[in-house]
Amino acid sequence: MRFTTNSSLSWLVLLLPLGSAAVITLFTRRWKNLSSFISIAAVLGSFACSGLIFARIDISAPEYTWIDIRGVFNVPIAFALDDLSRLMLLVVSGVGSLIHIYSLGYMRNDAGKSRYFAALSLFMFAMLGIVLANNFVMMFIFWELVGFTSYVLIGHWFERDSASEAAKKAFLTTRVGDFGFMIGILMVWMASGSVVFDDIVAHLSKITSNPSYLTVAAVLIFCGAVGKSAQFPLHVWLPDAMEGPTPVSALIHAATMVAAGVYLLVRVAFLIQASQTALLIIAWIGTITALLGALLATQQSDIKRILAYSTISQLGYMVMAVGLASNEAAMFHLFTHAFFKALLFLAAGSVIVSLHHEQNIWQMGGLASTLKITFGTFAVGALALIGCPPFSGFFSKDAILALAYQRNMPIFVIGLTTAFLTAFYVSRQVIVVFLGKPRSDIARRSHESPLVMVVPLLILAFFALTAGLQVVAQNFLVVPHEKEASLIVPALAIIALVVGSGIAFLVYRNREHDPLDVDLLRKLFYIDEFYAWLIDRTQGLLARVASFIDRWIIDGGAVHGASSGTFGFGSLLRLFQVGNVQAYVFLFGLGIVAVIYFTIFR
């Protein structure tokens, strides 16, 4: 184990949050404020180390051999410190720190504050582990850990039935995806003999020699991303996950965990890009998800659910970019999305707290005058989300649309439609929540949130505004740019944006309740009902089969069979006990004759 002073920075990034989680769980449960400060200190420490690593102060990657079955299976605990992971480290720990500070304000009156911060620290540890992993097995371990901490955090207010159900749903749905992921890992390992990413790249020819095998493996690994990044058809957990506290929604379900799926796809891009079929599948699933999310968001009445579906839609965009074979575009959008989505969620949280945990947008209204800073930051985030120049979202979304325009026209058309819908529902949200007249008493009496919540909002708003600009972004990553400087794509995008916002403005201005009522969308395309029916059918069938086997084969056959078999055999043998001595003598004589025959005459 190379634990030189050089590599200690990388270890610190990973282990500080773990240490904080351990300390809080074991020692400081009772002192809530102390727990929160320990957690915040840990994540700020991680952020500082990430910054140092990013500035190339320490670039040696530590390695620790965990499993080593010689020649067959070798799993190191090692870090991959390339450009991709360093950028992600910065994003994850940066956004994470801001949300930790915000949580101080949001959760100030919560009874389970220590438990919350411990879980939050554990989540940071797991997420940083995913970012730093240099092999599939390590990534999978942290992947599962992220799922688990997400379960804990969504179910933070577990006394509410809906919250614990949502937590279970999240865990189980991602688990389905993880199953495919695991099989994909096994397939890759079987073909290339190693789980370490660099080794697999070196042995790539072994896998690519069999195209169908490669496609299947790539699609299975993509399954993990489908689960974690809430793509269709495993997107059903993300809206329900809004049962958790808003900072959790911001951190996990906007900025980091859902981005883990996209990060995975970019990590194994060497594998995916070798198969055109896999790329096509991924691109289409991303596109469908984007459209689905946007459609469903137009009819939601819960301020957080609108943002949840928006996340699903934007993740669809990122996956679409991966499917169109451009890692840079996907990472760029992930980068900007982390900022403006976290901003939107935190601002929504500020609204919720000011209105004493009211979340229905039709109970809000006119908050622009009472919650000025929140409104301002929310507006910045909204403009970034719909892709209005010069905000960051414009550049990243434009990059993706340009890619689609070049490579796959149908996808471009759907992407453009989705952009139109995005503008529509975001404007709807802004208009209903902030503009117009207050619709309820609580809205009238609202006031701005405390400073500890507002400052992170401002910081994030700054990044949402500037992160897209070339001058800023090129310090962090490779900014994609089109080969031909065509103006059609940005023009079309802006037109879609304006039309969408305009229509929303016309429809939703000064309304008391939603004039549009599309049941199909409101009921989320009945997907949840379909899944419930499906599971009921299959589970019922399996239960019946298992019951049959248990009752007839195991109970009847083995248990009862053994007993009555023995009984029957005993009854048979009892016929020998005749009680007639002469019969015994006869048998005795018979035995003697037989013995003599067999010893002498054979």
Partner: protein, 106 residues
């Protein structure tokens, strides 16, 4: 001339007669008598063999005779006890017919 084989075959036939008697007859007393026949057949065999193995000095080897003596004695003791049992059984069941005594049947 009479050879050893004749004596042995005669002894074998006597043994088989006794064995058939044990298997076929139903009266306990007769069965015991047939049992005696079997024992005597064995005795005849022993004495025949003993006569066959003569010492270099021309003297008979009397070890088999001692063995036969023991067999006769043991047979006598066995008959005594067996008949006492028959008497007790007869007192109980009033029969010496073997098919009436089937208490061992499961």
């Amino acid at each position: 001339m009479i050879a050893l084989g004749h004596y042995l075959i005669v002894s074998g036939i006597l043994f088989t007669i006794g064995f058939a008697g044990v298997m076929v007859r139903r009266n306990i007393i007769i069965i015991l008598m047939a049992l005696e026949l079997m024992l005597n057949a064995a005795n005849l065999s022993l004495v025949a063999f003993s006569r066959f193995h003569v010492d270099p000095g021309g003297a008979l080897n009397y070890n088999a005779h001692v063995f036969v003596f023991f067999i006769i004695t043991v047979a006598a003791a066995e008959v005594a006890v067996g008949l006492a049992i028959v008497v007790a059984l007869f007192r109980l069941r009033q029969t010496t017919h073997v098919e009436d005594i089937m208490s061992l049947k499961f």
